[in-house]
Each structure stands twice: as structure tokens, then as C-alpha cells.
Amino acid sequence: MSAVISMQSVEAVISLMFFVSVLSYMLSGIAEKPGLDDSLYRYQLADDVWRVEQLKGNFKDFSFDANNAMRDDVEADFDYINGMTGLCIYMGGIKVTSCSSDYTIAEKVASVSRAAYINGSAKNVTLTLAKDIS
């Protein structure tokens, strides 16, 4: 009799474990809630930043030199965009906005690579948007 009871208990425990594992698997699926796929939109935002600067003619005589007038204009525009959107903007791995996030630790949002006439020659420059964590 006791052997039967213990056998039933083992069965009950196994059933309960199976049920709990199935339920937790299903509930974890609910809890996960994957976010929206906004990869195209993020790419478009990065392209917008590039396009806006191009429209304003700020890449005509652009140089990464500290005393370059175009760089100052680009910096001012990027700071303005940072104020509106909360996005840090980096060009060629160099932070152009005044937000405090460092490029190496910044949470990247999107990057685009475009050709521009920089320091007197055509170069491919990567423009990266990142979240401002400051």
C-alpha cells in the first residue's frame, strides 16, 4: 500500500514539475515582449543628419581641424539636433556633439557611411548616432 502511495506521489510530483515548466515557458514568452523592429527608421535618422548638413553646405570645406569654420557650424548643428532628439552624433569615431557619452561605450543607434570632401580630399566618413546617457 505504502509503495503504491509513494509511486502515486512520484507521479504527482513529475506531473506538477512538467506542468510548472510548461507554464513558466509560456509565461516567459508573454513577459519577453520583443520591441519594434525600427532598424530602417534608425538608419533613416542617421541619413537625415547627414543630408541636413549637406543641404546646409557644411561639408564644402569641412575639416576635422579644431579651427575649421565648417566644423564649428557642424558642431553647432549637431548640438542643436542633440538638444531636440537626445541623440549624440559622432563623425569618423569622433564625438562632434557636446553630449558626454564616449564613443567606445555609447549605445549606438545607427551608422551611415558617406563620401565627403574632407581636409582637401574625398573620404568615406561614418556618421554614427548614439543614445545620450548623460
Binding site: F19, V22, L23, M26, L27, G29, I30, K33, P34, L36, D37, D38, L40, Y41, Q44, L45, D48, V49, R51, V52, L55, K56, D77, Y80, I81, M84, T85
Partner: protein, 146 residues
């Protein structure tokens, strides 16, 4: 003796019913829980798909507006009929109620607003970075809808 046996038989039947009852109840509870979980999962998936669809439509509407619908354009006099568009340079006079309504219908959205100011009315919004006016001032174009 015969009465005793009959009484024992009745007792055992009662126990079998009782036993059955106690095994059916948890089984029913498990089935109900599983149905509830499946129902919640389905609702969640439908909601997620709807959200993604609305978002994708807003992204398309915003991209079309920025690159074509409301982009500043110039007629190239020398080449008759040719028009040059400047993507991301927005002419806000082109964003009329009629323009919004036609896009809303084409995108099959319940509501659509395209503004240079954040409507902040709780509807789902995305923005694009643009320049406006002859001074090419940087601004955000908000595209909201549901």
C-alpha cells in the same frame, strides 16, 4: 453476508467517484490555465503585429513626405517638365489637409498628422530631421497616427 458485500461494493463505488473527482479537478484547472495562457499569448501577438504595422506605415509616410511629398522642388527651366527635389528640405505649405487625408487613406490608418510641432496628443509618433524655409533651419517633422 450478502448485505455486507453489497455495502462494501457501494462504498468502493463512492470512493472511485471521489477519486475520479479529485483527479478531474486538477486536470480541468490545468486545461483552463493553459487556455488562458494561450489566449493571452495570442492577444499579445496580435497587439504586437498591429503596433509594428502602424509603425512601418508611419515610417513609410514620413519617408515619402521628406523625400517627395513635401520636399522643396525646383523646376529646371532648360529641361521642360524636369523637376529637381531636395530630400529633407521640407516645404510645409505642401503639407495640406488634403495631402494628409490622401496619405491616410493610402496607408489605411485611422488618423494621421504630419506637423513640424509635436502634437503631444498621445497618438503614436515618429520624427524625421529636416530643414525648413529659405534659411534651412533645422527642425523635426512629426508624423503621428494610429
Amino acid at each position: 453476508m450478502a448485505q455486507n458485500a453489497s455495502s462494501r461494493y457501494e462504498m468502493s463505488k463512492a470512493f472511485i467517484t471521489f477519486d475520479g473527482l479529485f483527479s478531474i479537478l486538477p486536470a480541468l484547472m490545468i486545461i483552463m490555465l493553459a487556455f488562458n495562457a494561450a489566449h493571452t499569448l495570442t492577444d499579445e501577438a496580435v497587439e504586437r503585429i498591429n503596433r509594428q504595422q502602424v509603425f512601418d506605415k508611419l515610417v513609410s509616410v514620413a519617408d515619402y513626405t521628406v523625400k517627395q511629398g513635401a520636399a522643396v522642388s525646383e523646376d529646371m527651366g532648360a529641361i521642360a517638365g524636369e523637376e529637381v527635389r531636395y530630400p529633407n528640405w521640407v516645404d510645409d505649405s505642401k503639407i495640406t489637409d488634403q495631402y494628409r487625408e490622401s496619405l491616410r487613406k493610402r496607408a489605411n490608418l485611422n488618423g494621421l498628422s504630419i506637423e513640424l510641432t509635436n502634437p503631444g496628443d498621445g497618438s503614436y509618433c515618429i520624427y524625421r530631421i529636416v530643414v525648413v524655409g529659405s534659411g534651412k533651419d533645422i527642425d523635426l517633422l512629426y508624423v503621428c497616427g494610429d
